[in-house]
Assembly symmetry: C2
């Protein structure tokens, strides 16, 4: 048994479109984009007009896309569970694992980071 929470929508934008995309989403969400100091490819959109967290990632290849982050207190157990549900593992980066859903949509399984994870997440089996 472990816990999961779909926490974040990430907007992945190619480098040449990044500034326009960043201005658009900060404006849409009534916030200001702030580059994350330790991870310059990521830009936060603090306290957005949104139910979930929303962030931006500068990508070096491929077209713009959305992906989602699933937070969990047991990354390996959650990756194994999602593979049983039909996901494919695509890569590992620092603390997170990149998966594709059965239609090829990207999601990342990330370790707990939210202060309110215990309160907001749900227990799953396996």
């Amino acid at each position: 048994m472990h816990r999961v929470l779909l926490r974040e929508i990430v907007i992945d934008a190619p480098a040449e479109q990044f500034d326009a995309v960043s201005r658009f989403w900060a404006g849409l969400l009534g916030t200001e984009a702030k580059q994350v100091p330790d991870f310059p490819e990521f830009t936060a959109l603090p306290n957005p007009a949104a139910l979930s967290w929303v962030g931006l990632q500068r990508i070096n290849e491929g077209p713009a896309r959305y992906h989602v982050d699933v937070e969990t207190d047991d990354v390996e157990a959650e990756v194994a569970r999602l593979i049983r549900l039909g996901a494919i593992e695509k890569g590992r980066h620092r603390s997170w694992v990149v998966l594709e859903d059965p239609a090829g949509l990207l999601l990342c399984v990330v370790p707990v980071d939210s202060e309110d994870f215990e309160a907001r997440s749900r227990v799953v089996d396996g």
Copy 2:
């Protein structure tokens, strides 16, 4: 002045992949997929293990994609504001307007539907 809230992540899946995608996301989120009676192309994922709402849409052309729904108490004002921020209008369906962000990512501007919209949304200018 009107209000906005990024409320929902929608998983758009081609018809031939829809059942596998639906099982996957219902399992990931610890819920059961329920087709929406009046709009059979939409499938709800009630009370998901997620901060935002998550839904599924069966699509008839193109590859799988995510899109997001932005809820507002003034659809026309919000569409005009987002076009000024760099969006392009792609179409109109029933009560909502389909836009692309500056990199081509899909979003829909939808009229207020959530009971807690007033409490969760944010006032924007224009």
